[in-house]
Amino acid sequence: MSVLQGIAASSGISIAKAYCLVEPDLTFSRNTVDDVEIEVERFQSAIAITKGELESIQEIAKKELGAEEAAIFDAHILVLTDPELIAPIEDKIKTEQVNAEHALEETTDMFIMMFEQMDNEYMQERAADIRDVRKRILSHLLGVKVVNPSEISEEVVIIAEDLTPSDTAQLNRNFVKGFATDIGGRTSHSAIMARSLEIPAVVGTSDATEIIKDGDIIIIDGLNGKVHINPSDEIIAEYKVEQENFEQQKLEWAKLVNEKTVTADGHYVELAANIGTPEDLEGVTNNGGEGIGLYRTEFLYMGRDQLPTEDEQYEAYKKVLEGMDGKPVVVRTLDIGGDKELPYLNLPTEMNPFLGFRAIRLCLEELDIFRTQLRALLRASSYGNLKIMFPMIATLEEFREAKAILEEEKAKLQDQGTAISEDIEIGIMVEIPSTAVLANQFAKEVDFFSIGTNDLIQYTMAADRMNERVSYLYQPYNPAILRLVKMVIDASHREGKWTGMCGEMAGDEIAIPLLLGLGLDEFSMSATSILKARTQIKGLKKSDMEELVNEAIQMGTAEEVMQAVKTRCNL
């Protein structure tokens, strides 16, 4: 038995067999065979097994995806039994005395080339069908397994290098109980996915796929970021207790789904969720989110080869606004550039992407992109409680310019008779220290602030959050950070405005007491953190936390602050 340490990406514990989602090794060499009849038989039996396999996948696909989607497998089965394909392969084995693998590859190559050369795009794509079928036959000839997550029919944990959106779409949610990946961090796609599916996950283990074999018994400890491989009975028993406790705790939390978040001394705060797509709404509702504190619109622009149209965006925004049924939805305008690339924009690579041409800086240059998004938002505004937030604002001029463009688009749409909500609040992300320091000026012009702590911390500490060697400088509890947060919250309150927070810090159990004491109005976090945070806040008195934070901002180090919170709140 051994234990891998990774990053806890989604809380909970699962114990199940490993299912390794890795590309199989299908390499082989050309061999001469003595007995061609036996080789032909070997080929025919591989075809028969493949056919059975495809038929069972087709059955599952029919049930899970519907007849329309399953029809593609009809074509695959017909390719597999195609006399014009099979006969030449068998001939080749016989006349050239070669192994079946080689005959299969040469013959299918010919067909693949033929389809790829056709001038019809649809037909060119059929080459992929032949490749897929060939891969299956080869795997049976070579006796290696081709992974096919849709055929999983027992409880498993998925072990993969990384999980792409299309991988996760194929996973049967009834059977997949957790996952562990080699790469990724808390904000990688696989981690976000795990939290929205509410299954335990550990990411960034480096070598899970190297060490873990199919069928190994695995414990995914999504609370501590550990992956146990073939653990002893004692360890399994311990984890079963812990799993039980966690489930128990979740049930306790679940009782608070429809409750307001009110401290022990009667102060109300809003607990909202961060989302990336309309599909995340279900998790928000299930976890008692009182609003959306950050809708990251980048996902609309990513994983495609051209910009999304105004209508596509409008549909997505409308869906989120309607889905939240009048609860506040803070939409962040496009935050792209720098490290978050869109290949189709052809932006030059930068030496220092976090300090470069990104977010609002890009939008104020690429006005077509910006205006399209603003129009889509304005058109959707009448379907709910929309608030628009500009990211990476460093100067008042940037805010004024962005707001003026928004007003222009609003006037144009209204001239055309489009219905637009009259109550759209316009705010900014506070993630650049200059903006935090000058918050009292900004507060006169914006409707709200949302503090983006991930970036505010890295800019304040001058420490790249992607660079592990300086990760010790990522200090949310550093009194310097607390003072900046305090400046922003105080400035907004003096002008009768509100402040939210949408970084990881807002859902952190050490930070929550401090933020409560500073008077933060809205806490936005992963949906699955909401009920835990609500439980914690209900047990705290705001007046006590004010006292605590006033001491904290006078301290010298993050460590002292952390100890003070732990002692005061019994953490």
Binding site: A75, Y122, R126
Partner: protein, 88 residues
């Protein structure tokens, strides 16, 4: 031998799904069945053959059958083409 000509009316032509259907129907019969398009003749029991022709909308093709059940095969294929709105 039996044979008949058709004209494709389906928007996308004889692509994977209709080709699968035709090949599945053809496979039920003993006869040799061929599809002829622009002087090219392919085995209608071969999906790769049928798809390789890439027959598009408005194009004409001919099906010929030869064997013990040639008329039944031709009727069945004609039936499929028409009921699926692929050709007339």
């Amino acid at each position: 031998m039996a044979e008949k000509s058709f004209k494709v009316i389906d928007e996308t032509g004889i692509h994977a799904r209709p080709a699968s259907m035709l090949v599945s129907v053809a496979n039920k019969f003993q006869s040799d069945i061929n599809l002829i398009h622009n002087d090219k003749k392919v085995n209608l029991k071969s999906i790769l053959g049928v798809m390789s022709l890439g027959i598009g909308k408005g194009e004409e093709f001919k099906i010929s059958t030869e064997g013990s059940d040639e008329q039944d095969a031709l009727d069945a294929l004609e039936n499929t083409l028409k009921s699926e709105g692929l050709a007339e």
